[in-house]
Symmetry: none
DNA sequence: AATGAATGAGGCTTCATTCAT
DNA sequence: GATGAATGAAGCCTCATTCAT
């Protein structure tokens, strides 16, 4: 009765946990196998190489967060609400999937990410930049390079998440709202 | 006529470049030696292990950026100016030392950083949080957890730098000023 | 409607092709399965092990060439004609079954051939040596160790075939006749 | 006082012995190291890969035999004597270096030989074909494709050596002379 | 101090074989 | 009989580290 994906799931989960802890290069494939409860060779039935495995891990989670952000995006709401929606979706994801978020955002993937994943990565940022750009047209957002504003906001969000993960702050609903509000102030036009 | 530090410098420089490119675990000591133009054994005359070497690299640059930020800090200026000063010091450093900044801020050091370096790392953030806290007392800064505000600001700065490094924006003086101003808006009180 | 031997044939054919190309030790059983269009497990329904498979391949072809040489052997013809007949039978086989001949004659089987196959191998040579020995009795063949003469002739034939396979000569009927004649001169008595 | 080549020599010798016994693909690098009395990693200080090692083994011996054949070649002697000289040089080499000769001539190298070695291999045969061709001009040799005659002769020689190695004949001076004489008869013109 | 050959444990990956379906 | 996922031992190779020079 075991679903055929069980082992693949176990491998992906073990890989994520170990990559987060020790980094891609610092993680041995046999140790992934051990944590997943499968034989080392089994990993190679499902992934052609360690590199393909790390890309599968990346893709799985990047697609998931992108899906959640898009799914929760209120396309016809005013910018202020759209901003809050994206912020909250991401926070919900990042709080519920610490390892995945840490891996996606706080690890350097340059030496192994494939093109499809690089495109995936760029896609979410383009969406966010487009949202900012559109809001700008209605004068609600500062007349500043929208990509810059988007990167500042994502960066701030990541700074907050990392501080939370590392225990320097404890994110509760109030603090999350404070942070969201502060970041809106960063991008909002003077008289917003 | 070569001073003995020349080789140490070459080793540290080669190590930094390779760690940035491939990560700590992905970088072989012999390849550091080759890039530095020394024999592999030479590295072990100056550093007891690969781990000690990576800590030396981290320390060197973390101390340097901390020194520059402190040196350029206008202790008696108003908060708005202090904020700008820190921002500009860091930008100057990050623009002039891309590899070092990338290594310090965008790599996961958890698996090898020694305690001294962890303390170093925490120190700069504590200083910044203290600056924010003090400014808050004068009502210029939002009455929000100062650590949160500091982390948001550092995060935004890092988001900006990474976007610059990766070519999504091109930081010039104007854009840097826009970014700084936006981040000030994030932390500034409503009536600032 | 497929006869059960179809798969066995496909396996034997794929095994031969791959053994010739990469050698026994260099060929993976799963790759044989893939080339044969069957599952890896299927091979183990028909052959107990990789070693048994390679012995089956060897046996199949060694028996076939032995059969053809014997079938075409003119037992009551004069030695000169018998020599030519064997030569031509072998040439016909070797030209029609390049992979098989290459595998049988130009690969080192010592590390896996079973006793039955070793006996098979020896059998054909013994037959040829016997033919030479008998001809010698009639004075047509040099009074030299018949095994030596036989090995020289087989060696010459193999040298010719390898040169043909590798493109250094192009065997046509005339050249084949030249070669056969030259080799007869090697074994024939002075006044033949 | 140990010459620096000692380890390289030991590795090459162990590799030859094992390749002859088990074939290239059937021989494990660690087992070569063990037989050579060095650590596995040491092999990789001297040879970039197993493939480079096998090519080094091939080159070393192919050059050696080529050197001996050329060195012993009586350039101004009559063809009959040149033929005998080459034959004897090769026999001397093949008898003194059984493993090397077996490896060079009785193993299939197609899947790993590099271009330089393929050229080396072709070189000796071209030399021999040229000798045959020249002798042909003086009418002493059959008016038959000289490459064919050369390949037949080499093949016969190899057949003889293999029979000797495998114990079907025991080559002494007399038998060697018989064989040489028979092969000369194969290539010599009718009235030679 | 500097060298770089040597080491051998350990990493990534392959593959002969098994077994539940 | 046929399948192919799974196994884990073993293979090729890398690399942190040592040491004789």
């Amino acid at each position: 009765m075991t679903a055929p994906t069980d082992k693949v799931d176990a491998i992906l989960a073990a890989a994520l946990a170990l990559f987060v802890e020790r980094g891609y290069h610092g993680t041995a494939v046999p140790s992934i196998a051990e944590h997943a409860g499968v034989a080392a060779g089994t990993i190679y039935h499902h992934f052609a190489s360690k590199e393909e495995l790390v890309n599968a891990v990346f893709r799985r989670w990047k697609e998931r967060i992108a899906h959640e952000v898009h799914a929760g995006f209120p396309a016809s709401a005013p910018p202020r609400e759209q901003f809050r929606a994206i912020w909250n979706q991401m926070a919900q994801f990042a709080l519920a999937n610490r390892d995945a978020y840490t891996f996606l955002e706080f690890h350097h993937h340059a030496s192994y990410l494939d093109d499809a994943n690089k495109a995936l990565d760029a896609g979410l940022k383009q969406f966010a930049a487009m949202v900012v750009g559109r809001a700008q047209a209605s004068g609600i957002i500062k007349p500043v390079n929208p990509v810059l504003l988007m990167e500042l906001t994502f960066g701030a969000f990541n700074g907050m998440m990392r501080a939370h993960y590392e225990g320097r702050i404890v994110l509760d609903a109030a603090m999350l709202a404070d942070a969201e509000s502060a970041c809106w102030d960063a991008v909002a036009g003077r008289e917003a």
